[in-house]
Symmetry: C2
Subunit: 346 residues, 2 copies
């Protein structure tokens, strides 16, 4: 499906490990004044300037988390970084540095890894983070990626998952369900391609949702917006699994209940139309789809005026006492218990 326009193919074995990592990272430079030492020593040195350090890590496995038959390596490099930056943002922090380790089998060429690192560099440039370390090694089969992201935040600004209080508003950034429907379109095209490799599909009508799947963004802009609006959420989490399982995480850790309004869940028109095309219920997709990397937060009611009418933030429900339980209020105004149907790895 995705054409390899780069015909050159240099076997990995032609470069040694040190030469390879130097080659792949040659275009990276450090932009952050908190980066005291990047790649090239036993470890990186970061000066958090009296702020606290946020640390998160994630591992992505070929055949489990991504499928290279429709995921270009450049996009994969971008996404691998972004999903970790998203976790940093979910602490109300600004991401500052990443490390990227990869294990690759010999079926990958130097040119393929160049594409992968081009994606990492794009993410580093767009999000203003420095690549400060990592590891490049061989694998027996397939591609394994491990990214660690670092951020900094003033102690008083940290937002945990466990701070939601009864009467707080439940708020989500952007719109949801798109990444999952993008995946459905890509999976369908992969099956079509298997039958007829000459088929050139027109995917332009799916461009938004495919981009949501292949090139998700971390909502660093929302962290900056919240600071500008002087809103400190009472709790926050990023939506890597479905909306429902993330809401349940927030509520369980905060020991509260919730009422979520089906008619308030923000959906892009393309998600609605593609759900119809696939004969899927768009609310189910929003609740269980995953990989949108939007931010889910709770804010105090007194902050409502500050976010009212902001197109980036939608109030989708409110927090109640734990005893009330966790419910979805449907369009038909019936109350349904909220259950987690997030992605299960095993």
């Amino acid at each position: 499906m995705i054409e390899d326009k780069n015909n050159a193919r240099t076997p990995l074995g032609e470069l040694g490990e040190f030469t390879l990592i130097n080659h792949l990272t040659r275009d990276f430079s450090n932009k952050r004044n908190t980066t005291i030492k990047g790649v090239g020593d036993d470890a990186a040195i970061i000066d958090p300037n009296n702020e606290q350090v946020v640390l998160t890590t994630d591992m992505l496995i070929e055949g489990v988390h991504f499928d290279l038959s429709y995921m270009p390596l450049k996009h994969l490099g971008y996404k691998a970084v972004v999903v970790n930056l998203s976790d940093v943002c979910a602490m109300n922090a600004i991401p500052t540095q990443v490390t990227v380790s990869i294990a690759v089998s010999n079926r990958f060429s130097v040119e393929a890894l160049e594409d992968f690192y081009a994606g990492i560099k794009t993410a580093c440039d767009i999000y203003d983070v420095d690549l400060v370390g990592g590891d490049t090694t061989s694998s027996v089969t397939g591609l394994v990626i491990s990214v660690t992201a670092i951020g900094t935040v003033k102690s008083e600004n940290i937002v945990y998952r466990n701070g939601a209080k009864p009467n707080d508003l439940l708020v989500v950034s952007g719109d949801i369900g798109g990444a999952y429907m993008g995946l459905q379109v890509l999976e369908r095209e992969k099956e079509v391609f298997k039958v007829n490799p000459n088929n050139q599909p027109d995917l332009s009508m799916y461009s938004y949702i495919i981009e949501r799947q292949l090139k998700p963004e971390a909502r660093k802009d929302i962290i900056e917006l919240l600071e500008k609006l002087e809103v400190k959420p009472t709790s926050m989490i990023d939506i890597s699994d479905g909306l429902s399982s993330e809401i349940i995480h927030l509520c369980k850790q905060s020991e509260v209940g919730v009422e979520l309004y089906e008619n308030k869940i923000p959906l892009d028109p393309q998600v609605i139309s593609v759900c119809e095309e696939f004969d899927l219920d768009s609310t189910t997709i929003a609740l269980s789809g995953g990989e949108d990397y939007e931010l889910l937060m709770t804010i105090s009611q007194q902050d409502y005026d500050k976010i009212k009418g902001n197109p980036n933030l939608t109030v989708i429900g409110f927090i109640s006492e734990a005893a009330v339980g966790m419910h979805l209020i449907t369009r038909a105004e019936t109350k349904v218990e909220l259950i987690a149907r997030g992605w299960k790895s095993f």
Copy 2:
């Protein structure tokens, strides 16, 4: 060779991802006052108390970096943490936190992962570091481990690889070559085991070198010793590859030359006798063996009196101008050019 005394076997699929990670980390608790938030949120929060943050990461792949036929999972967990702590120590810093991510195939049981995490816990306890995050996911084949280690260091105490100056002394901690010879013994026993699985080898005469391979230590004690002795090395690196390639790293980054004395290289008597048994030259093993995780450093001559006679530190050479080149002075007092024969991943 290593008997599985634990006969219970719970398939991984019986526990979900969240339950599994909670189960595996249930005995871990945070001991460090710099750990503000450990596992359980989008990211960990670390307060470096105005010190600088040291960050390093490493990936270990089954079949490339370790062989489970002689590496017990508990030792593997221990070693995976320790090799990263060693990198933190090599910056003259004290390790404080780690994250551990693993990808495992279904051939591993919950009990096997419990062994692996028991090794991680032992390392965390011995080195006084907190496990503050990670990821547990499924792999298509084999076991993949990615560890990130964090440490803290006062800005003025950081030691890089590039600070060696002509006339500095070249110093190594402990003794070297043991880990590599331990691997040779284990590889030989694996071949014997393949022929006769009932063979019960007596490995007691190899206990030191096998432990060097299976349970290496990070020389945090040397960092503490150097502080007590009031010695700040001018450059430092840990010996993960062979001694010669690490010396070459220090010299190239510092733009200096070196004279290394063969008769000064510290070898354990067991290394010497097993080298004889395997008909290998012990100097070659010390220069090229790797995985000893000792610290290689340069110190100013005026600090010599502070380390003189200390059984943990051996002067093995001295630094010269770059133009002089990098040489080994053999026992026969001939000068041989130093070449890197470190481990090559591809």
